[in-house]
Structure formats: C-alpha cells, structure tokens
C-alpha cells in the first residue's frame, strides 16, 4: 500500500524526467553529428534562439497575434456552440431537427472551407477569424450536448418537484450538471483553434506563429523554425493548464470525485 502511495507521489515528476531525458538524448546525438545538426539543431541551440527571438526579435508580437486570433475565434464559435449544444441536449425536438446538419457539417475539414469564407468575407482578419470560429464551434456544441444529455433525469425531477421554472432548471441543473463536459469541450475547442490559427497563418496571414514558421522555413533558418514550433507547443501547454485551473475552480465536485 505504501509502495503504491510512493508511486503515486512520483507521477508528477515523470513527465519532466521524460522531457529532460529526451532533450539530453537529442542534444547528444546532434552534438555528435549522428543526426546532422544543420537540420536537427541541438535543443540548447534552439533554446538560445528562442531567447534571442523573444528579447530581440518580434516573437512576442507574433505570439500575441496568434493568441488573439485563437481566442477571438474560439469565443466567436465556442459560445454559440455551447448555447446550441445546450438547447440540443435539453430538447429532444431541437436535437432531432438539427442533428442531421451537425452530423453533415462537422466532418468537413475546416481549413478547406477557407476559400469559400474568403469569397464571402474577403481575405482579411475577418475571414481568418471565422475559420477558427467554425472549427471551435463543433467541439463545443457536441461536448455541451453530451454533457446535458448525461445528466441523470432524476435531477430534473427533483428540480421540478421543488417547483423550479425552466430558467431555474437551466441555472441549477443543466448548467452545473454539464460543466465538466463543457470544460472538456473548451480544451478541445482551444486546441482546434490553435491548430487552425497556425494553419491559416501558414497559408496567408502576415503575422502569427504560423507566419513565423513559414518565414523561417523559406529562409532556411532551421533553429528559428524549431524555436517557433516550441512556442506553439508552449501555447498548447498553457491551454492545458488554463483548463485545469477552470476545472479545479468550477467543478471541484467532479474532479475530486474522480481522482
């Protein structure tokens, strides 16, 4: 039993250990030129480049462009997705009417709809944001709908028995009961937003992490290429941490009940 407890205490240290081990390994084989360092620069060199780009270059500008794009896109798509998901989860009629459309539109690759969106909204910021919004709409909708549907019917009965109006049922049952699923949707939605933001930037934006990746590639500045990709990964980790904070704050009852 105590051995198991020790093992459990170790778990948080394992990811950093794996990371450090992998980086050391890469450092060794690139420094020894087992992998050509021209295409695979050593991690320390990448980190140094990252530092320089942050302090001297315009990395932070590009980073904030990507983060703003990802957040506006996510809010623009995620909030309607959540509202519609809630309606579809709650009302069988609405679900049966709209579900075929969701099923048909969801698998369409979002980035491939960019040309059509550009025809409608032009080639500027609006179009780029709308693609991101469309991409985060679906994970939020589907998660919220699943979240409302998994609420046990007895909670609706209890609320009705206590005389709750529909609005009160929404506030005291539907919303809190589906929050763990909504937050899972937030995590998925933010990640999709991030990848679509990068893709849009690779394709046509003049600013952002994606643009930076493309420029580094075009000019064969391999170390900068890696440094930008690491930046994107750091955004991914921030998303994870942000959602975990939300979970701890909004649904302690669900997270604690499961661990």
């Amino acid at each position: 039993m105590s051995r198991r407890k020790i093992a459990e205490k170790m778990i948080p240290f394992i990811p950093p250990i794996i990371l450090i081990a992998t980086l050391s390994f890469l450092e060794t084989i690139t420094r020894m030129e087992i992998l050509p360092s021209l295409f695979f620069p050593p991690p320390t060199a990448v980190m140094a480049t990252l530092y320089n780009m942050t302090t001297e270059g315009a990395l932070l500008d590009h980073l904030s462009a990507t983060v703003i794009r990802l957040l506006t896109g996510f809010l623009l798509g995620g909030i309607p997705g959540m509202i519609l998901g809630m309606m579809m989860g709650w009302s069988t009629a609405i679900r049966r009417i709209l579900d075929p459309f969701v099923a048909a539109l969801h698998p369409v690759p979002k980035i491939s709809s960019l040309p059509i969106i550009m025809i409608i909204f032009g080639i500027g910021f609006v179009s780029r944001t709308i693609v991101v919004a469309v991409a985060s709409f679906f994970p939020m909708l589907i998660n919220t709908m699943a979240g409302v549907r998994q609420i046990h019917p007895i909670y609706f009965d209890v609320a009705r028995n206590c005389g709750a109006s529909r609005l009160q049922v929404l506030r005291h049952v539907v919303l809190p009961g589906s929050t763990p699923f909504i937050l899972a949707g937030v995590r998925l939605g933010l990640n999709v937003s991030l990848s679509i933001s990068l893709a849009v930037e690779l394709l046509l934006a003049d600013k952002g992490i994606g643009t930076l990746i493309w420029m580094a590639w075009q000019t064969m500045r391999i170390e900068e290429l890696y440094a930008t990709i690491v930046t994107a990964a750091l955004v991914g980790i921030s998303i994870r941490i942000f959602v975990q904070l939300l979970l701890n704050r909004c649904v302690p009852w669900a997270t604690k009940a499961r661990t």
Binding site: H152, I154, Y155, D157, V158, A159, R160, N161, C162, G163, A164, Q168, H172, V173, P176, G177, T179, V251, P252, W253, A254, K256, A257
Partner: protein, 261 residues
Amino acid sequence: MGFRCKNLGVTYKTQNGELEALEDVSFSVSDHEFVCLVGPSGCGKSTILKLVAGLLDPTTGTIEFDSKPAGDRPRNAMVFQEHGVFPWMNVLDNVAFGLAIRGVPKAERNAIASRFIDRVGLSHFIDSHPHELSVGMRQRVSIARAFVNDPEILLMDEPFGSLDAMTKLVMTEELMGIWSRQRKQVLYVTHDIEEAIMLGDRVLVMTGRPGRIREEIEIPLARPRDLRDRDKSEIVKIKEHVWGILEEEVRAGLRGQHEPS
C-alpha cells in the same frame, strides 16, 4: 388535505414496445393520514408516487386533491428512491434548494436548512459535497430537503432503505415526531412490511406488475406507537397476513404469469 386516485393506469413506451406498469389503481389518502404502500419489486410503487407528485401524467384516470380547483396541485415533496442529491451542491445548498427556488432570502433559508440538517444528524457535513458522503448520509440529505420544503403532501420512496437498523429507527422516530406535530398527508413506500405496519394508518398491498391495489389493511394500533415494540400479537397477525399475500404475488411474478384476482 387529502386526495383521491381514481382508476389510474400507466403504460410506459419502451424500446421493446409498451409496458403496462399500473392498471386501474384507486385509493385515497385522507386528511392527516399516513398511508404505506408495499408490493413486489417493479409493481409500480415509484410510478404511483410520481403520479401524485405530478412528475408523470397517468395514461388513464385522475387524481383529485381536496379543496383545490381541478388541475391544481398542493405543494408536495418527494424523497426519491435514488435520492437525487445534486452532486454539484454542498449539503446546505441541497437542503435549502426548494427555498432558494421559492426566493427565500439566503440567510433565512440557510437557517431553516441548518435546523433540518441538524435533525438528520449531518451538521458536521453541512459544507461537504455528496461524493464525500455515504449512501445513507445522502439519503438523509434528501429527507431533510423534503422536510424543508414544508409540503402538504409528503411522498417517500423507501427513504430509509440504505440505513442501518439503529439509524433507521432513530430517523423513523424523528419522522413520526414531525408528522404528529404537523400532520401532513404521507404516502410512504417501503419493502419492509413490519415498518409499513408500525408507521401506517393503512397499508396498501399491491399485486405484481401491472400493479393494482390488492388489499387495503387498516392498522388499528393506537398512537403514539412505540416503534421498538414489534412483537405485539396484533402486529404479528397483520404481518403474517401481508406476507401471505406478497408471497403469492412474488411467486406469480417469478413464474411470469400473473392471474387476475
């Protein structure tokens, strides 16, 4: 305020076709009466409570409440068999829920709720969430919530099913105390025949599915009753009688062929 159930029938629509849960159920509960409902598992006891609570519409039949215009329903509170304690609220908010819905100010509703939490012995757990409670403790939360709502009709679905014998006895005595003071109408479902006899003014014995009322038994014991004294000859006699009926019903149910009585 009593009520009368007239020829209630319920047919559930399920994936495997229709399922007749209740057939022609008629009974009444008069003012201040405590009525117990016993019957084999799946005979429709919970369904009857949901009908009276208005959570389910009968397929046939009607329920009439005294001194209310038709269609109107006096305030009732249900203690659900599966408790239905909200996992996202702590004990206090769960118990105060009905008052919050009615717009009672926070300080006032918390004071009322705390009093009932005290009565069910959970004052140390007032800030706990349901996942930190045992099943029996959650059941007590749901009982406190029902009482806080100060209903005219109390509907209890095996409220003490998950409690140990001693806690159950104490809680039942508490319930009887509250009932004798406030004299609400109670419809009480239980699997425990002895309990039904000790508590009820009347015991309704149901048939297997589709459920009907097979027999109504008046319990002639004087009140207040001593819940600890269960060996009186009257009690034993009624108990044997009810056992006999239920044995027939359960055996018929297990054979899958229920002969109409």
